[in-house]
């Protein structure tokens, strides 16, 4: 692919309202992206079976984008634009139904055929979801599996953060251009992902804004880069379930983490399980489902043999508080009513539990941070 053609493809790719398989189809029809761009709106409308207005909007968007500049900006942040059809383009992405025309990637993609698991879930994370995601993602990262997610709030952030914590590569497929960070609070996390050998990937133009229609589309890329997709938490109608559907469409395994039947955020995974998705009770369930040819080199053994890190034994009082909190979350008022400790005693107990990482506190409510 020559340079001219690359620039043309970057331009063609700028209009995010049209599907990438349509773009590829058009490039096929006209022979090349450069040729495609030379057409007028009428021809495109006729050949591409889209309305004249859409064709005009498409051409306008293409004309507005400075492809040269896109390349420069991407290189400046240490990124690369990979073109579908070139050798360095991830094979698995080229194989999906709606393969992207190109991707912008920051960081190190490495061997894209490595064992990888997509872990997705709700932004409105529950204490249970947090525990589950932390535990599962942590175990998978330790066994050397690449975690794929979307760098959104909630489950996505937990998954990426676990990978970073365990010095394992993770791929973040984002719903904006790679020149942006959305949500902004994940800037630090994004940097950490790049530092630990992960990559941030998007098919959108460098500066693309976080528009609503970007997110469902990037979900197909999460599925596309994964060997299987695990839904940790999510409502029945949620982005996580869209990803699951995309994965099924691409012929991947979908697994789900069961949750309480009355928890709205577990509605999605529970429904998936009912419909036949694999049930995740531990990380080994996920690893078992990874295609066997990819299990080479995984540090699975370590995971299975690993004994629990020796933690300080809990005092009787601490155990009492943990039992009172149980699976849910409680604030200090409830704990003091139920335990007969006064505020000062409770504060001391909660403080040591929180500092030890056994409990976490959000908005004044304490919940367990990991499984026993």
């Amino acid at each position: 692919m020559n340079f001219e053609e690359k620039l043309a493809r970057i331009k063609v790719n700028s209009f995010s309202y049209l599907r990438s398989d349509w773009l590829l189809e058009m490039i096929k029809i006209f022979g090349s992206a450069s040729e495609f761009l030379k057409q007028d709106a009428k021809t495109i409308s006729k050949e591409g079976k889209i309305s004249l207005e859409s064709a005009q909007a498409f051409l306008k968007s293409c004309a507005m984008l400075d492809a040269q500049k896109e390349m420069e900006k991407t290189e400046k942040v240490g990124g690369k634009i990979l073109f579908n059809g070139e050798e360095d383009f991830p094979t698995r992405l080229a194989e999906i139904k709606e393969a992207p025309l190109l991707i912008y990637a920051r960081g190190d993609l490495g061997d894209t055929q490595r064992a990888s698991v997509g872990m997705v879930g709700t932004r409105k994370i529950s204490p249970y979801g947090r525990r589950a995601a932390t535990q599962l993602a942590g175990d998978l990262a330790q066994s050397g599996i690449v975690l794929v997610s979307g760098l959104a709030r909630g489950i996505d952030s937990v998954v990426h953060a676990q990978a970073v914590k365990n010095q394992s590569a993770t791929w973040a497929l984002i719903g904006t251009g790679i020149g942006r960070c959305y949500p902004a609070e994940n800037r630090e996390l994004a940097r950490a992902i790049l530092d630990t050998g992960g990559a941030i990937i998007s098919e959108l133009p460098f500066d693309a804004a976080p528009l609503a229609h970007h997110f469902p589309r990037r979900n197909r890329l999460i599925a596309g880069l994964s060997d299987l997709v695990v839904v940790v938490e999510g409502e029945v109608k949620s982005g996580a379930l869209i990803t699951a559907k995309m994965a099924l469409d691409q012929g991947l395994d979908v697994m789900a983490v069961p949750g309480p039947i009355d928890s709205p955020t577990s509605g999605g995974p529970n429904k998936l399980i009912k419909e036949g998705a694999g049930m995740v009770l531990s990380a080994s369930d996920i690893i078992d489902a990874i295609p066997s040819n990819k299990k080479f080199g995984l540090k699975v053994k370590k995971l299975y043999n690993e004994s629990k890190a020796p933690s300080e034994p809990l005092t009787q009082q601490e155990q009492k508080i943990i039992d009172l909190i149980g699976e849910g979350s409680k604030n200090i008022d409830e704990l003091s009513l139920e335990s007969s400790f006064d505020i000062m005693q409770l504060s001391a107990i909660l403080f040591s539990l929180e500092v030890a990482g056994v409990l976490i506190c959000t908005d004044g409510k304490y919940s367990r941070s990991k499984f026993n």
């Binding site: 949500p183 500092v355 976490i360």
Partner: protein, 513 residues
């Protein structure tokens, strides 16, 4: 003929002496009032002449000039009516020599009706206090101001009408009959109709308020509607230490200036002010064309409760920073600078998110994370820096509400507060600091030494809980108060650990790891 009468006026809430000079001379009949009177004072002309006539005297048809000394300060208020009327009577020769001589003995403060009736006016108490300081002994005031005059430690005569005042001057009626000094009997009776034990549950919030009362800390309560934020705030004054005489006098002066004193007859509580969130900056902080104390000053020595804290306009919240830092409000004008005291405990309450139900056990919050963080960000950092204690409140379960005892009564908490205050009084006996919350950096260093394991606790909190060094001083001050409440000489690590319960907003940047 010239006649000079002593009266007073207000600058902010400080009184000062004003001499009312009346000169009557032959010439075109007229009445001129000079000495920077404002509209209220100017209108005295018409009231006074009618009052003189209707009290059975003659209003002189001559050239009358009235001067208010010091002439360079702007004066306002209707209380110059009485001295002006007496000055006119004196200068026009309608008073006997006895009366003229007696005029010098008194100071006169009162407004006149057209019938000659002496009406009350605002600000009498601070004027009397200032005059007393200048060595004046006897005052003649309206009956309406009787209540407040009692506190000035000054002999006074409460007049019904102009005629009566003239009779007094002519020694037709004795002034001894009512001249008395009540200030020593001034008893502080605090009557509260509410009690802390009426609030069920909310143990943490109650404890936070107890600490706030003991150390003079400001509090922010965050929680969904119906969790008892307002209820708790309303009862906060009941656990504050009893008013001292000095404190009460300060309160009374401010209320006098605002003309609110007589409404508070006989019930001397610490003020509880809860302005609505639509309040203007001036109404909150004080000021205006004739500068008046605002809500922050009306809350002096008491509680300022700002419900729906995040709904206040940004500028209103920012003006709060000055009184929270310096305990007073300075209103600077080109011509003058006024100072109003404003030492209050701020109790702020807000919802956790725009819809109010974030974190609610039952109801669902539909706010997006962005909306929630934007809502919280309405309270600026510098303002939060002045709030030592923050608590999250959650709705109380009905079963808990039913079965559990109500917790300590106001009286019980107050006893602990008084004990803690006593320790602080001893601690700060050589400085102007009155409570732990107001400690200077040097004092924090002196009085908030940490035990060895305490320093470890702090370090852990910073590392693991993401507490910022910025809040260190506040943590130490609060820990000091908790130690005082426990009667402990040193700050222990338990005290520190409790403080972290009141700093939920510091726990930012804790990663999802």
């Amino acid at each position: 003929m010239l006649c000079s009468i002593t009266s007073a006026c207000l600058k902010g809430i400080e009184g000062y002496i004003v001499n009312v000079e009346v000169d009557i001379a032959a010439g075109m009949p007229s009445l001129t009032l000079v000495g920077l009177p404002d509209q209220e004072v100017k209108e005295a002309k018409d009231r006074v002449l009618a009052a003189i006539r209707n009290s059975g005297f003659d209003s002189p048809i001559k050239k009358i000039t009235i001067n208010l000394v010091p002439a360079e300060i702007k004066k306002s208020g209707t209380h110059f009516d009485l001295p002006i009327a007496l000055g006119i009577l004196g200068a026009s020769g309608q008073l006997s020599d006895t009366a003229i001589a007696n005029l010098k003995k008194y100071i006169f403060i009162g407004s006149l009706g057209l019938t000659g009736k002496v009406h009350g006016c605002a600000g009498v108490l601070p004027m009397l206090i200032a005059l007393k300081r200048k060595g004046k002994e006897k005052a003649i005031i309206s009956q309406d101001n009787l209540e407040e005059a009692k506190y000035a430690a000054m002999a006074y005569f409460s007049a019904q009408n102009l005629k009566q005042v003239v009779d007094l001057l002519e020694e037709k009626i004795p002034f001894e009959q009512e001249l008395k000094d009540n200030s020593e009997n001034l008893s502080i009776q605090e009557v509260y109709t509410e009690d802390f034990s009426e609030v069920k549950g909310q143990t943490l919030a109650k404890r936070a308020l107890e600490i706030a009362a003991a150390g003079g800390h400001n509090v922010l309560m965050m929680g969904p509607p119906g969790t008892g934020k307002s209820m708790l705030a309303k009862r906060f004054a009941t656990i504050l230490p009893p008013l001292e005489k000095e404190e009460m006098l300060e309160i009374l002066q401010i209320y006098s200036v605002c003309g609110l004193l007589n409404k508070r007859k006989g019930n001397f509580q610490r003020p509880f002010r809860d302005p609505h969130h639509t309040i203007s900056n001036i109404a909150l902080i004080g000021g205006g064309q004739n500068p008046r104390p605002g809500e922050v000053s009306l809350a002096h020595n008491g509680v300022l409760f700002l419900d729906e804290f995040a709904e206040f306009s940004r500028t209103s919240l920012e003006v709060l920073r000055e009184p929270l830092e310096t305990f007073k409000v300075t209103i600077a004008r080109a011509k003058e600078t006024l100072t109003f005291p404003a030492k209050f405990t701020l109790i702020a309450a807000m919802n956790p998110c725009p819809c109010g139900y974030h974190g609610h056990n039952v109801k669902v919050c539909n706010c997006t994370p962005v909306q929630i963080s934007r809502y919280k960000a309405k309270i600026s950092g510098p303002l939060l820096d002045r709030i030592d204690l923050t608590v999250n409140l959650l709705p109380v379960n009905f079963s808990d509400w039913e079965k559990k005892a109500q917790g300590p009564t106001s009286k019980e908490i107050r006893e602990k507060v008084i004990a803690a205050r006593k320790i602080q009084k001893e601690r700060f006996k050589n400085s102007t600091t009155t409570a732990n919350a107001f400690m200077s950096v040097a004092q924090i260093k002196e009085f908030c030494a940490l035990p060895k394991d305490g320093a470890q606790v702090l370090e852990l909190a910073m590392k693991k809980l993401g507490l910022s060094a910025r809040s260190l001083d506040k943590i130490l001050k609060t820990a000091r108060t908790i130690a005082d409440l426990e009667g402990s000489k040193d700050i222990k690590k338990e005290h520190l650990m409790e403080v972290f319960q009141y700093r939920p907003l510091d726990r930012k940047g804790v990663r999802d790891i």
